[in-house]
């Protein structure tokens, strides 16, 4: 448990709480969008490079392949579970339920990064290929969600022609996928020696930059919560809290089946539990404009993200230890 404490008292989380507190107190403080976009690009390049370099160290095993596959499957299936739960427990309509489901099938790279730090702090290793898993889990959920949203309703395919291409590019070539996968490839190709000269920037500064970014995330999460919570019924907020635990347990089962080491298991669980708030919303504004951002954004950014970053991650690490012993 003192792992949990030390995680909660790490500067990263403290800065997140600072931001969240300031937002809830309605401070006008903001981080310019252009700046935080640049910072998040840095984070994705750094995490991608790290993963690629580590993957370059040892060949692709079938285990690795299985984890990648597991990630894709999770991203495809979690939305189904989420959708059913939402339809039965909340008053959300088909489209909004499908939209929310997409977010929980996809991932939050910042949550993932916070988890890697926590795993490190707890003294465990984690494989570089988990970054690849993260990248692979971003998009399948969107496809499931679009299917769920049209299901039954003889609605015209939402998008066609130029729209189609626009959407496909947004889904498969959005900034985070390109940066993650691209940096992963660069790290893989350049390897340890090739990336030595750029490590001071991408590794040395990583935790520090993360503090700055999580301060901003806290501001965003806090504002999202303050502005949006009225739109959410209790059942929906509840979903934002138990769904991560559900997804994590499924991932725990898979980790057990695959016999993943503690670190990898914790990260896979975190990925399953985390909800997207950048890639998926953007894609859904194109594909499901009828879905209300005030619902899915508030839920994933205002409820689930804070939960995962503070309580969730320690729990997942704890479970990962339990199952792997």
């Amino acid at each position: 448990m003192d792992v949990a404490i030390s995680t909660l008292l790490s500067p990263i989380i403290l800065f997140f709480m600072l931001g969240m507190g300031a937002a809830l107190l309605r401070s006008q403080m903001t981080v310019p969008e252009a700046f935080s976009k640049g910072v998040s690009l840095y984070l994705m390049m750094a995490i991608g490079l790290k993963g690629g370099v580590e993957m370059s160290k040892n060949p692709l095993t079938t285990e690795v392949m299985l984890v990648l596959l597991a990630g894709i499957v999770l991203s495809f299936l979690i939305p189904l579970l989420a959708f059913v739960l939402l339809r039965f427990t909340t008053r959300l309509g088909q489209v909004d339920a499908a939209a929310v489901a997409a977010h929980y099938g996809s991932i939050s790279i910042v949550t993932f990064v916070a988890a890697t730090e926590a795993v490190r702090l707890s003294g465990f290793e984690s494989g570089g290929h988990l970054v690849a898993v993260a990248a692979l889990m971003e998009t399948p959920a969107i496809i499931t969600a679009l299917f769920l949203a049209q299901r039954g309703s003889a609605a015209k395919a939402p998008v066609a022609g130029a729209e189609q291409g626009e959407l496909v590019r947004e889904v498969f070539l959005n900034a985070s996928v390109v940066a993650l996968v691209g940096a992963l490839a660069v790290g893989w190709i350049a390897g340890v020696d090739g990336t030595a000269s750029i490590q001071p920037f991408f590794t040395g500064l990583f935790q520090g930059v993360l503090c700055l970014f999580l301060l901003d995330m806290g501001l965003n999460a806090g504002r999202g919560l303050r502005q949006g919570w009225r739109q959410l019924e209790v059942a929906t907020i509840g979903f934002g809290l138990y769904m991560p635990l559900l997804s994590a347990s499924i991932a725990a089962g898979i980790s057990l089946a695959l016999g993943l080491p503690v670190g990898d298991a914790a990260l896979l669980m975190t990925l399953a539990a985390s909800a997207s708030y950048i890639a998926v919303p953007a894609a859904l504004r194109l594909a499901l404009p009828e879905a209300k951002p005030s619902i899915y954004l508030t839920l994933s950014l205002g409820v689930t993200f804070p939960f995962n970053v503070t309580l969730g991650i320690p729990i997942y690490i704890f479970i990962a230890q339990a199952i792997s012993s």
Binding site: T30, V31, E166, Q227, Y277, A279, P281, A282, P289, E290
Partner: protein, 101 residues
């Protein structure tokens, strides 16, 4: 001076490319997109610096053209706005180079 129509479209950032295609197809000779900073509508406020998934950002599209083309594009625009939140308004302006629009 020559009379033309000016479309002003307040629409989500994610949708402006679609609006642009509509204007283009309707034969409008050009448009300009301005970023919005904040806004209010339907009782909701938004602000650019507080939405990381800049998906709720609005932009303002300005397009000047002759009445016929403007009317032509408006229908489709209305359709687009059926899905995406946004506001469209049309005003009358005078331009110097009629051939340009």
């Amino acid at each position: 001076m020559f009379t033309r129509k000016r479309i002003e479209l307040i629409i989500e950032r994610m949708a402006y490319k679609r609006a642009g295609r509509i204007l283009e197809e309707a034969g409008m000779t050009g448009y300009t997109v301005l970023p919005a900073l904040a806004g209010f509508g339907n009782g909701n406020k938004w602000s650019r610096d507080t939405d990381i998934s800049t998906s709720t950002d609005m932009v303002v599209m300005i397009s000047i053209g002759d009445e016929a083309r403007v009317t032509a594009s408006l229908e489709k625009i209305a359709g687009l706005l059926g899905n995406h939140i946004g506001v469209v308004s049309v005003s009358t302006v005078e331009v110097l180079r009629p051939d340009r629009f």
